[in-house]
């Protein structure tokens, strides 16, 4: 029986991914802050065919990343791990506040990287499985409107790149997921246009990429080319833009 662990299980992308895994009969370990939300989510996933749901109270800012956590999550092994927690800060509110900036970096990068450090060795010795981490296209280039979030995601992208390099030798697939604009509660306050994608689309791309891809998943696919163009703009020009 296949088993998956999902951190930030109540995020829209995580929910969509978990539903697809539930349809495949997975056992799911769901880790998130809000226990009431987890319980409703577990009902949903069980209804859809999940073999079982294990719930774990996990707070990216305070849950210690110790062996006890590792043992609980790992149990007898994982076929799939998704690290999906994160929050989109209000750039203007945090950019001149060192504590708030550090907190955002920890929630969006430090805690995710900590989880990867906790489980990398176990995946390596298991010799198979997939580790997917939600980064963002925002990490591809720093922009004045979003560089606190962007730099955290850049750290996630670079860390997972290195980890992929290490774990590819032992048959473990590490995926850096770079969604563009996703219609989710995190972005509920923003007007949606044609570039926006539904969480279902992102989830399908995450699960579709598990075999034999480069490991960097832009979702939807066209963001690879949008970001390519943005990355190609020379810095001396880029710094003058108001992006």
């Amino acid at each position: 029986m296949k088993r998956a662990a999902i951190f930030g299980a109540c995020s829209a992308i995580a929910v969509a991914t978990a539903r697809m895994l539930a349809e495949q009969g997975y056992t799911l370990l769901l880790a998130a802050r809000a226990e009431e939300r987890l319980q409703v989510l577990a009902q949903d996933l069980r209804s859809r065919g999940a073999a079982d749901c294990e719930l774990l109270s996990y707070d990216a800012e305070s849950t210690p990343l110790d062996q006890q956590l590792a043992d609980t999550v790992w149990a007898s092994g994982l076929d799939f791990m998704l690290v999906a927690h994160g929050q989109l800060p209000d750039q203007a509110a945090v950019q001149d506040d060192p504590e708030a900036t550090a907190r955002e970096l920890n929630v969006n990068a430090g805690s995710a990287i900590g989880l990867l450090a906790l489980f990398a060795g176990r995946f390596e010795s298991q010799g198979n499985g997939t580790v997917a981490v939600i980064s963002s296209v925002a990490g591809d280039r720093g922009r004045q409107s979003n560089y606190v979030y962007g730099s955290a995601k850049a750290a996630v992208s670079t860390y997972t790149q290195g980890l992929r390099n290490r774990l590819s030798k032992s048959g473990v697939c590490v995926l850096t997921i770079k969604p563009g604009f996703v219609d989710s509660p995190m972005t509920a306050h923003l007007e949606k246009g044609f570039l926006w994608a539904q969480p279902d689309k992102v989830a399908a791309d995450i699960l579709g990429a598990r075999q034999g891809s480069s490991g960097v998943v832009y979702t939807p696919w066209f963001w690879r080319y949008i970001m390519l163009i943005i990355k190609l703009i020379p810095e001396r020009l880029f710094k003058k833009l108001s992006l």
Binding site: C10, A12, A34, E36, R37, V40, L41, Q43, D44, R46, S47, R48, P185, A188, H189, L190, E191, K192, F194
Partner: protein
């Protein structure tokens, strides 16, 4: 986010907030003046009087499914399309679906929607076994035909005014597979529609007709269908085309309509054609044209849907023909006599006629007023979910239980529709 109803109302969009989890509800009451689903009501039913609505679409979790009885327990924001995608592969289906799958189960209940099988299954609300209603006072009411019965009948067809529906239990119906055996029959005049309808009501689960409302004799296509025994899976239903924006000038006008309708009528050469279509494709043809409402251009369109006794249909169609204002989507359906469970349910015995008109301001409104007179004289009713114009007087005549709904209304929830049709009486 900004929010307008499916018919593009109001001119100044409202603000839409989102509810994804129940713990967000206390913050919603007192802020948003109305809680909506996917905004597929056409007129001012989904518009709040304070300009802020909250969508419960994010409450989209299934809570349990009994595969032996077909009882589905879910949150109110689950869409009908999601339920079908879940249920059909498991051998179950929604017993009643409206013309779109892009509406929430809460919205379908709050408008007590009907489908092409009304004669066989009645309204959507008949298959709602229970619901959990959240009031702004903090009170939660479990409502069913056994408990809080008055709240149950006020909430079904209650236009979202009695509180926020959090969860429902829906009785699904057994099907062999996702297919329908369909048949389309051309008819040359209205009387043929009525005889086909009467003949088919006992033999077919689904019956509906499209009519060319600009033709003198109201010719059209009668389509009927039964669930097929075929069980092979359906490949995914994609969107055919997305209308990216509303063109400044609508391609739908009185000159193109006549041509459209004529072409549409003659697209089927033979008088009878049978086939097999997926339940989803057959029930929701317009869903494949994403944002089709934009085809009516910046000025938009209005829908007119009423139910009247059979003789009045002729008068309505004559009135429309005389006006020269056409409708491409003209749909006729005979309702059955299965009682609707809601205080304010629209379906009742008679024939329902639904038409889309390109909005031409005062001219369209004048036509609507003439149609209203025919409906009132025949003691018919206009469908609130589609309406943006009916008078308070017409509403209160056709929906005499409105005062009971007003007594059950949550004090912080009020739609522009409700203000409009109940306001005049003080």
């Amino acid at each position: 986010m900004s929010f307008t109803s499916w018919g593009g109302l109001p001119e100044q969009p409202q603000i839409k907030k989102t509810i994804s989890w129940r713990d967000q509800l206390p913050g919603v009451f007192g802020d948003a003046g109305l809680v909506v689903g996917m905004g597929r009501s056409y007129g001012d039913v989904p518009l709040s009087i304070n300009g802020i609505v909250a969508s419960a679409r994010g409450l989209d979790r299934l809570l349990g499914f009994d595969s032996s009885t077909g009882l589905l327990h879910c949150e109110a924001g689950v869409s009908l399309g999601e339920i079908l995608a879940f249920a059909l592969p498991r051998g179950w289906s929604l017993p009643v679906v409206p013309g779109t799958q892009f509406c929430t189960v809460g919205g379908a209940t709050a408008n007590d929607v009907h489908g092409k099988n009304h004669h066989a299954r009645g309204t959507f609300g008949r298959h709602v076994k229970s619901l959990l209603l959240q009031r702004s006072s903090g009170e939660q009411l479990h409502c069913s035909s056994q408990a809080n019965v008055d709240w149950f009948s006020a909430t079904i067809g209650g236009l979202g005014l009695t509180g926020v529906i959090l969860e429902l239990e829906i009785q699904l119906s057994r099907v062999d597979g996702p297919w329908l055996d369909t048949e389309t029959i051309k008819f040359g005049e209205l009387d043929e529609f009525f005889s086909l309808s009467e003949e088919s009501d006992s033999s077919h689960e689904y019956n509906v007709a499209w009519i060319d409302c600009l033709s003198r004799k109201s010719r059209g296509h009668f389509t009927r269908a039964n669930h097929s025994a075929a069980a092979d899976p359906v490949s995914a239903h994609g969107t055919l085309f997305s209308v990216p924006f509303a063109p400044p000038v609508s391609p739908v006008n009185r000159f193109t309509l006549k041509a459209f309708n004529s072409l549409y009528y003659h697209r089927q050469q033979v008088s009878r054609r049978s086939g097999r279509e997926s339940l989803v494709a057959w029930n929701f043809p317009l869903d494949r044209l994403n944002q089709w409402n934009r085809l009516y251009g910046k000025r938009g369109f209005r829908q007119y849907q009423c139910v009247v006794p059979e003789p009045a249909i002729k008068d309505l169609l004559a009135c429309i023909r005389q006006s020269g204002d056409g409708s491409f989507l003209a749909v006729l359906k005979m309702f059955g006599d299965l009682a609707s469970p809601g205080l304010l349910s629209f379906p009742r015995p008679g024939t329902t006629l639904a038409l889309d008109f390109p909005w031409r301001g005062a001219d369209t409104l004048a036509l609507f007023k003439r149609l209203d007179q025919i409906v009132a004289a025949a003691n018919g009713a206009i469908y609130p979910a589609k309406d943006a114009h009916m008078s308070g007087e017409d509403f209160r005549r056709a929906y005499p239980a409105w005062e009971q709904l007003e007594q059950h209304r949550d004090p912080v929830l009020k739609s522009q529709f409700w203000q409009r049709v109940t306001g005049e009486s003080g």
